[in-house]
């Protein structure tokens, strides 16, 4: 079937090519691309970009704004690798269209550090070895930053369920939990 063939062709073509942006429509005559001029505030910087209305926020960040710290894992909302902060709340950038966020503030992993000074959650992940291969790490860290904002009084016991949207195929969960617990203590006690 043509639909299935298209999916597989796109996958075989490499995930680094943004599916929502670069995939040619199956039938060009039925799908003349529509675009929209979009303004976002990304990591504190105002950017204007002409986006295909179909483009996910994730593909826009990676392929148009070249912020590749945000990762594409499953592209269907299961893995959490694409987590960003949208107006301060953690969301999955693969499950939302860029065009829906005119004027929004987006924080990616690239926007957490202050120059060479790591964000306390980044520091905690390094100190506690909260990763192995590193692919899920930017999503884990951004998600943890969002979690600490949602729950300033986070207890250690709450961490697994409230981080359940971020999968780690290396199963570095023990150290990830320890890193977040340490960052939570630090933020409660004040730096």
């Amino acid at each position: 079937m043509s639909d299935g063939t298209k999916r597989r062709t796109v996958l075989a073509g490499g995930l680094s090519v943004g599916v929502g942006l670069a995939a040619a429509p199956a039938r060009a005559e039925a799908s003349t691309p529509k675009t929209d001029l979009l303004t976002l505030v990304v990591n504190g910087r105002r950017v204007r970009v002409d986006v295909d209305v179909r483009a996910s926020l994730l593909d826009t960040l990676r392929d148009r704004l070249h912020l590749t710290g945000t990762k594409k894992g499953c592209d269907q909302g299961a893995c959490g690798a694409c987590t960003v902060l949208l107006d301060g709340r953690r969301v999955l950038s693969c499950l939302t269209l860029a065009v829906m966020h005119e004027g929004s503030e987006v924080t990616t992993v690239e926007g957490l550090a202050d120059g060479d000074r790591l964000h306390p959650v980044q520091r905690a992940f390094a100190d506690h070895d909260g990763f192995q291969c590193g692919f899920c790490t930017s999503g884990q860290i951004v998600s943890a930053v969002g979690l600490l904002a949602e729950h300033p009084d986070l207890t250690d016991a709450e961490i697994p369920e409230l981080m359940s949207g971020n999968l780690c195929r290396c199963a570095a969960y023990g150290n990830i939990r320890a890193a977040i617990a340490a960052a939570a203590r630090l933020s409660r006690e004040g730096e």
Partner: protein, 324 residues
């Protein structure tokens, strides 16, 4: 994904006008379900109407209960809501990851698509997606599919946890269309598939869910949600139960038992509710209700385990409430 005409109205009236006379238009709110359906070309709207700019957010309390705006996010963290309707807040928390709940809305949660793998993959035949195409699930993997209310045309289950809790709370959805406002009990919102599984809900073309109203009921505060899933944290329900009980002098006066993950809509277990009324909530009553909750189940060999899960979720939920 096919391209579409993207619109972002600022008022409900404008939103309704943008879909009126456009049968291929779709509303989008959180997008956490619809974006995947667009990407996989399960849904191919010619116009996408983004309702995030509409003033449909927030909770409004009154003596009669609470009115929840359709755009209220599923991450709603409100102590008053948790105290008045524990079953609802527990269902929401169990429903999805925090990232998804930060975007997903009440309206979208109720209208989300089924999770049957054959519906989600256009390579397979699906009557719900393409009327008359056939049902690949009928001869396929049915482990996750329904044991109540299914038909030869469709065996999918509704995936929402929130909707199961809302049915147990006698909630109503408020919808607006160009012909005015009407109210639909959440229990009547989703249709059983019969021969027309593509007619998924009771909304008329062009109608928009604007709110959910949850009444104040004597059983609402003594309620809970128990969910079995394939892993310890966020996943869709294999079977779940939203249970609410009102007792006086130790005797059950009224009760609601609604099942999730086992039917094409939140499945009210009326026989189980009858088994509770007029009884003390002791172990024997709990067991009788758990057994009655399976009445009418028609499992296949690969999902017969759900019958036992139904007994389990009802037993656990009632036992928990009995200890309160």
């Amino acid at each position: 994904m096919d391209t579409f005409d993207y619109r972002r109205p600022a008022s409900v009236r404008e939103a309704l006008r943008l879909v009126a006379g456009h049968p291929d238009a779709a509303f989008v709110a959180g997008g956490t379900d619809l974006v995947t359906l667009l990407r996989d070309r399960v849904r191919t709207p010619g116009r996408l109407v983004d309702i995030n700019g509409l003033p449909l957010d927030g909770l409004r309390w009154s003596r009669d209960g609470v009115r929840i705006g359709a755009l209220c996010r599923n991450a709603v963290d409100d102590p008053r809501l948790a105290a008045a309707y524990p079953v609802l807040v527990r269902a929401l928390r169990s429903g999805a990851s925090p990232q998804i709940r930060n975007r997903a809305t009440f309206g979208g949660n109720l209208l989300q698509g089924v999770r049957c793998p054959y519906f989600r993959l256009p390579e397979f035949a699906c009557n719900r997606r393409d009327p008359g195409a056939g049902c690949a699930a009928a001869g396929g993997d049915g482990r996750l599919l329904g044991i109540f209310g299914t038909s030869a045309a469709c065996v999918a289950v509704h995936p929402s946890d929130c909707a199961v809790a809302l049915v147990a709370l006698d909630a109503t959805v408020v919808v607006e269309g160009t012909r005015g406002t009407r109210r639909i009990p959440v229990g009547d919102l989703h249709r059983l598939p019969g021969d027309t599984p593509h007619e998924e809900h009771a909304l008329r073309p062009g109608e928009l869910v604007v709110a959910v109203e949850v009444p104040a009921r004597p059983f609402a505060a003594r309620s809970t949600y128990v969910k079995f899933r394939e892993r310890a944290s966020y996943a869709f329900a294999l079977a779940s139960a939203a249970v609410a009980v009102h007792s006086e002098h130790g005797v059950v006066r009224d009760a609601r038992i609604c099942l999730g993950g086992v039917a094409p809509k939140p499945w009210r277990a009326h026989a189980a509710e009858r088994a509770l009324r007029g009884e003390r909530l002791d172990a024997a009553t709990v067991e009788a209700a758990a057994e009655a909750a399976t009445a009418g189940a028609r499992p296949r060999p690969d999902n017969a385990y759900k019958v036992e899960l139904v007994r389990g979720v009802v037993r656990r939920a009632l036992t928990e409430l009995g200890e309160k």
